[in-house]
Symmetry: D4
């Protein structure tokens, strides 16, 4: 059994659901990743990697590593050129509560960037200092989708949801300790939020929130 | 202290976020509900009630009960006339996995109906009998948002997410027993789904999924 | 073995910690309660009962039931006269997020009332409709201790904690369903709150929050 | 007390239940493993090791390490020659959902191989790309037992169970993060599956699934 | 919306996977069940109902109730004639640990009976009185599949698995209190069992264990 | 299948482990209990029933109910005469923290009584009123085994364990609400106690604590 | 995106709630911390850091590290001069149960010190050796607020709460193993304590307890 | 603050409860341990250390390390001479299920040894190979207390409890993976065991089981 036997890439996912295959690096061996890069290079397709550790990045075969744009904070990598950005105002806004949420907020922003969707990023506006959020609320309102990244008690999307009419996607983060329980509390708080119509994704899943936002702007925004 | 002291309705939520206030009946006393109906009647506003038990419905003051359209399966009530439906094809499709998920699927459909959004409902197409879903997949694809209601292992939204490009909102249900854990398993499975860009709401929260869909079609669909 | 064998009341708790013994009715049989009322009547002491169900209230011996002031929403009972109220502005404010939190907010207010502490009650100011809270914030600031009662995602005390300098005690409630998990989510969210210096008590424990507030105003407020 | 005092191998398990003793290396010290290899070598019995880390493998006494066939991905080791393979079509098929499940799928395949049972392996056919599974479904159907290895939401065995009549054994894996909860979600989803007659084993327990399959083909398949 | 809209029976499941559709009554309204019985009666198909409460049984339309064979302990119902039994020795044995496990053991036995598979039932042989099990062990060994039903600490299948070579399916039950946690402990204990090759199904899922056994004897037992 | 098929009493348990079989009534049908009483009556053996609800007691066949000594608080029943009490000072002391723990403390005391072991009972000495415990500490010290019954935070056995040299068995109770989690918190607190050598049994398991104490005084106390 | 984009310090928190901003170092990169120190240095404000690891301390730019007072046990750092201490008797007492709780007790004490509040520290007085606590009880009573730090079963604040009238804040610690569950048991035990009016903060959150105590002495203690 | 401030040893615990103070090294810094050894050396008392890591052992001041008898498998250390062993047959037997349980079984045995109690150790007799246990059952029966150490499904003490009349103490271990949940499953299984009168201690707490056994043989065994 070799690494090749374990891999069957889904190259036409893009045509099926509008978002090309991306690679979750967690749980893959260096051999698996090398094989995936080889197959993609052979077909000349660009793709996005998420949760790539520094060690995994360093272990990439040199022939591939040169073509990779790697961001350490978000642990994302672009292989090949991302899609070009249109010359329009951003439809998606990524709002985050604290500095420790940056790694997730950036994963969302980088994912949107890779798939050619412009994005506005607003950081460190958690509701324990409410004025910081209220100062930016009009700017936030001008977007169609707000991705709200927050950990601990995750009160940010609840407050936002009562202030703006946009679609809101909550991304709980694993920030904090003790009763924060690695993000479980933030996740549950978002799911149980008293704000109507808040959507939620998995803990630390900036990638998933961005993909969902892409589904929204692609599909809901299309001409009927 | 009287029931009136405990209530402060948010009558301008509609103008703020595009969805008028709705009443979650769980946890409210009969006195609370009577007071709420009185205040709404005085202002001549229509509103939606969710999770209204048969007992709560029966205990409504007669002057209000006559104006209520109550559905026992979904435990929803319309007080006053719902918004008129536009004469367009539905943008939202509610898909459910099993007969036991009907109570939640109907809560979603009734919420959309109340706020004037047409809806297509497709029931009992769980993936353990995959052909039932595949038979309807082209019809589903014609919508902008799919609300996928499923309990137990909740595999339906994962399979759907790989087949259609629409925005997908998973609603886990409390169907099942033992390891289904009152819907916790379905909830976690949806959050951990390997399908990209799946949104999730609270267990049995058909209302929330519908409100989120309303945010989407209102905001994302609006002219830029 | 008789009911009398199971009971040993702590009549000098008041002199020891400043708060006289109160009776948690949950888990006690009707015989136990009758015996407790007999012992207290014999000593002519007044006391507070919490979590007394309607059935327990109805089963009290008639000789005692007449002397009881029972409140159904909070399930509290005063046996004998509560302490007199001083003629000063309230030092404690009980703020609650939604109508369903009334049963807990009232337990706190009634406990304070029984022990002779004036209280301000402000209901239904959850942060999903932020303006309702901001309208009252100056009034809240005038108190020394704020008891913040909230369920679901329990964002209220976090927002409050960033706006006022008072001591804040969060009381999570068992309001909500699914991921609200009977109050566990509200409890964890308060414990993990990003607001500095928020104190927390058990789920639905309005009594405990009030007792803690009494400790504060008695001890911290006393002359050095 | 020495390592020898802690060990009592069950050399006649093979004659009792048809599967010879195997060694779970997790939790054993290097001394324990050396002692076990000594005892087995003295009796000239071959055996299988599972969950042997690279460090444990490296720490084996050299006299034994040369006789070991070690596979790093599955962390399994054969000591001595495995049973010969019969010249028949495989009765057992190991199907896995993603590349990250390879370490568990290989543990199952290697276990079957060690005990002399031929196996077909089909990798990376998760249901988020349904066509990949449907392309292989006829091949899968020709087997008697299907071991379905999947993590995250683990929808693979549910879909399979509705498509084929074979015995199906689900092996949840610890792939994923956040709500995947180290495999707990995959485990619960399989247990709560709406497919009739799906069997489940412990998280990441490819060895156990293989042993169960051996029991099946040995016992159920035998002449009556 | 009517009950009919919520139902789409899978009448050809039998031809696909060898086990005809069965109805899980939990979560279905009386209207749903009446509609299902009507559809089945119109097609003249027999079917099995599980988890049918006494109330649901009593609420069946009289035209159907007469044709139903209902067993209160297992809460199963046969609608129409079960499949005929072959004249061979039972291949499946249902072993249960205590009297309180009878409701689950009977669900398994009745399911096998409905689908035409003979069964041996051995009750109350929990391992806290080991001799009761050892007395029957030779009889148990003569079967191909053993369904072991046990709650609490669920030690029965572990002990059995070390004594017999048959395929073993553990069914944890919700017997017990406190740390038994409604069957979660029995479930986890079976999954973590040190016996090799034990299969497990959901808590109280006698039906699922029986269906799995049917898959085994149908598929594994068939001529190659 | 009849009730008789589900039952196999272990009549010689007494000779094997020194404690005759007792019947846990939870989970048994009225038919099961009637059958058990019939078998015991036929053999003229006395036995103990635990967790017998009022409804189960009322449903006993009249021929047996007359011979039953039933205690509602502890839900225990003696069928036939308990063992005679020796004329010695009690070796076992049952100490409980609050009135709500009486149902469990009495189950322990009644179990000891049934099997002929004298017992001292000391109630309502929880450590929030420490003086109540210290007043009785010399009396407690005179026993060989102390069964300490406590719920909520269960601090009683920790404090006791630092004060006396006796064997101590903690019985957590399901008293309390919210974070008491039905006794789980008391259970965990006892297990994690910083007192050396505290033994623990299941939540509310007064019967088990008593049986363990019987093992101790029978076996440890016997002549070597 | 740079570290600067992720940070928006709340410099006027002090004027709003009486406690100046502090920095939770967990989850922040070295770049984030350097940027924060730069901004604070530019404004010439002193601040407190919590949960700063040795590695983070070592990675501080040298220009800042010289101005830092770092304590390894509590992992706190003072940047700039702490507030001056008033010449009054301490109002706050930090009591801890065991040596392993020192890291948390010191975090509380150092936080109080930084903000200019004198503190008494009393260590290793867990209730398994009750005399150690009773020896100090009169000294403890002279304070207004007691911060009680304890892990495992966390019985200390319960016993304290019954002995003194002061405000009591429990800080559960992650001391212990197994059923201590990283502090969850201590947390739950404190929340479920039978002592009236005990406040609780997050696991290991000495900082939060100190901030709450500051709110108390600032606000409750101020002239009316 | 120095290490000395964090420590207050309980030197007369031995006279109070019969077991001298022991030191749990987990959570203590090297400074703390050095200080403790200094204080003990100054008083010339011997003591036992548990959970001392190799790193902690290596970091002991040389003047103390020479006087320490350290065992790596159990991570226990004797400082000074253990109590002399009496010349009698062992009253306590430590039985363990698998080789991986050795580290806990030895902690129990070493603790008993340190306090002067002889012990019989029987290893690797798990019930999946039942004959290994039955071969030793008569030997086990000759003891007064049996400490049964087992992980995973922990069936050993249940089977033992039905075979012998001795007092039985179950020690769950953190052996295994997945559903073994770090020992939680073994712990719950022992607590929910259907064997009457089984006592349980914390996960991996061989020390606690031994201390409890000492309480038993000291107190119960003493002349009345």
């Amino acid at each position: 059994m070799s690494a090749r036997d374990d891999i069957r890439l889904d190259f036409d996912r893009g045509s099926r659901i509008g978002i090309a295959e991306a690679i979750l690096c967690a749980g893959k061996t260096d051999d698996h990743l090398a094989e995936i890069f080889d197959q993609a290079a052979a077909r000349e397709v660009a793709f996005l990697c998420t949760r790539m550790t520094e060690e995994q990045h360093a272990a990439l075969p040199e022939r591939h590593r040169d073509r990779v744009d790697y961001d350490l904070v978000s642990r994302t990598a672009f292989f090949g050129a991302p899609s070009p950005l249109p010359d329009t105002a951003p439809r998606v806004c990524v709002v985050s509560a604290g500095t420790s949420d940056a790694r997730v907020a950036r994963e969302a922003a980088r994912t949107l960037r890779f798939y050619g969707e412009p994005v506005t990023a607003i950081a460190d506006v958690g509701v324990a200092g409410l004025h910081r959020l209220l100062d930016r609320i009009d700017e936030i309102r001008r977007h169609q989708v707000v991705i709200a990244v927050a950990g601990m008690d995750a009160a940010l999307p609840t407050v936002l949801g009562g202030l703006v009419a946009c679609a809101i996607v909550g991304v709980p983060t694993s920030t904090g300790y003790g009763a924060a329980r690695g993000g479980e509390t933030a996740l549950s708080a978002m799911l149980a939020s008293c704000t109507s119509g808040l959507f939620v994704v998995n803990i630390d899943n900036g990638f998933g929130a961005a993909c969902g936002a892409l589904r929204l702007v692609h599909t809901v925004g299309r001409a009927p």
